[in-house]
Point group: C2
Chain length 312, copies 2
């Protein structure tokens, strides 16, 4: 068995990093957690709620003596953070990140890291529409996938140790090639987010339908779009700017297909619509069988509302 | 107070009608529930699970002596059912429906109804991706809206009675003009469904990303689309064919906006993206404040899975 990390530095204290802190404590890893964030307000909140063992003012200070450094900042901020911490990393340290795109993060971070540091980019596929240090909860990663995208030759012990770490936080771990990651996520996450943002924006813009009507009658399908479209704007701006090619490719396929369905509506081609709608049911069943959703009616929304930090 | 209906006829025994049967019993209305469905298999299942007090083989038979007739068949089947039951309705009976479009249903049903029958079209905004007589549960309408779209002069007592009926089933009731209903629903339901169907179809089609990858990594946003895109194909084919103009109008606005965002990605206009994504957050807060969703992380999906027929 590999040994656990003695000290973990969390750079950025948003939803993902704060959930990692809660999950590390739930797993009783005995790890010393040092955190930092760019904004003084975020650091103050983290101190107030006791999120980390220590909150320091700079990333350079946070990585001192850390065995594991987690870059949990928006993708567009990765390069600046890597440049800041590079000179302060000691050989043998593992650096990972939680960014939603991987090729751009590799290009932004790798050049700043000294030799002897293990850089293993990562991406936990978990989130809610909430952000900030108060939004984290220990269960966020439970039964979700964390993709590690090591590139080139990697120290197998360092990789194994990071895999164990994420398993301890509740996640399933898989490895993937960076460019393929960016394409897969363009399909399962980036294009759906842009589409949801678009639809919610359109609804908000219509003069003949009031916002109050949209809000009251959202349960008819629109509600799920609004949840997706409430995610952190800065994070998502950076995702689209940094996974441009794959996102635009998938959106191109999407509009092509949407036009075909619009034409079927216009020409009243009921068979085309029915066939298309029948095909999409199968993929849903696969998701339920894979344990990535429940088929409970209404997602159990009508049940009691758990507090984000309550352990289940 | 108005008197409750003594006998309710449910024509069609899918998700909505079967949920109405469960909700009527939960409310202890003492109503005699007569049901029928076109398919013998559906009728057999309904008999087997004791869904109604009586299941009969034809719609004509079901409406005999009913005070309230509920047309709960796909929109495309409304006209045929109305023609069948018309001659068997007695004056004073209320006929309503649960179809997702209203102008087309009015055009299909009204001509077949004899004078003295109160036709009050309706639409409960509630559903799951499941269908059939086993999919119903008593809580489906709780805190959801049921829109009634009476047109022209209506008997105020008949309208009030139907309002009371839906309130007893757990719904909030509002009235709305039919064409406005069809536009509002094009925004909150019909366009989002077509978009979700499209995105799921695109994901299923891609050669470079396997279905298994899409399924495993769906939690990153795509999952909510698959739930919407698993809804009943026949019902949705009929919705699009019967709310053509409003759906195409909204989809036109949607593609226009999507193209603007795609261009912003292509030209790396981060400010445009950030502004757009910030604006859409507000509408989400409105929905949570209106009680139409919870802000619990992950919708409480990680909690226990209630059985559809379990009372809470």
């Amino acid at each position: 068995m590999t040994q656990d990390y003695k000290r973990v530095a969390l750079i950025g204290l948003g939803l993902i990093a704060s959930s990692m802190a809660h999950a590390m404590r739930r797993a009783d890893l005995g790890t010393d957690i040092v955190g930092t964030a760019r904004s003084a307000e975020t650091r103050d909140i983290a101190r107030e709620i006791g999120l980390c063992d220590k909150v320091v003012d700079t990333a350079a200070e946070a990585v001192k003596d850390a065995d594991l450094v987690v870059l949990a900042v928006p993708v567009g901020a990765m390069s600046g953070v890597a440049a800041e911490i590079g000179p302060h990393l000691r050989p043998g340290t593992t650096v990972t990140d939680v960014g939603s795109v991987k090729r751009a993060v590799i290009d932004a971070v790798a050049p700043h890291l000294p030799e002897g540091v293990h850089f293993i980019p990562g991406h936990p596929l978990a989130g809610t529409e909430h952000s900030g240090p108060r939004s984290g909860f220990a269960e966020l990663f439970d039964n979700r996938f964390c993709l590690l995208v090591p590139e080139g030759t990697q120290d197998p012990v360092a990789l194994e140790k990071l895999q164990h770490f994420w398993l301890a936080l509740g996640a399933n771990v898989e490895t993937m090639e960076p460019d393929h990651h960016d394409l897969v996520l363009a399909v399962t996450s980036h294009a759906p987010h842009l589409i949801a943002y678009t639809m919610v924006g359109v609804a908000d813009d219509l003069r003949r339908v009031t916002d109050s009507e949209v809000i009251k009658f959202s349960a008819a399908g629109f509600r799920d779009f609004t949840r997706i479209a409430a995610s952190d704007p800065t994070m998502w701006r950076d995702v689209f700017l940094n996974n441009k090619a794959a996102t635009l490719e998938i959106l191109g396929r999407f509009t092509e297909e949407l036009f075909a369905l619009q034409r079927a509506i216009r020409t009243e081609d009921g068979d085309h619509l029915h066939d298309y709608f029948t095909r999409t049911r199968a993929i849903r069943r696969g998701i339920i069988e894979a344990g990535q959703d429940t088929d409970a009616p209404d997602f159990g929304r009508s049940g009691s509302k758990p507090s984000p930090t309550t352990k289940e």
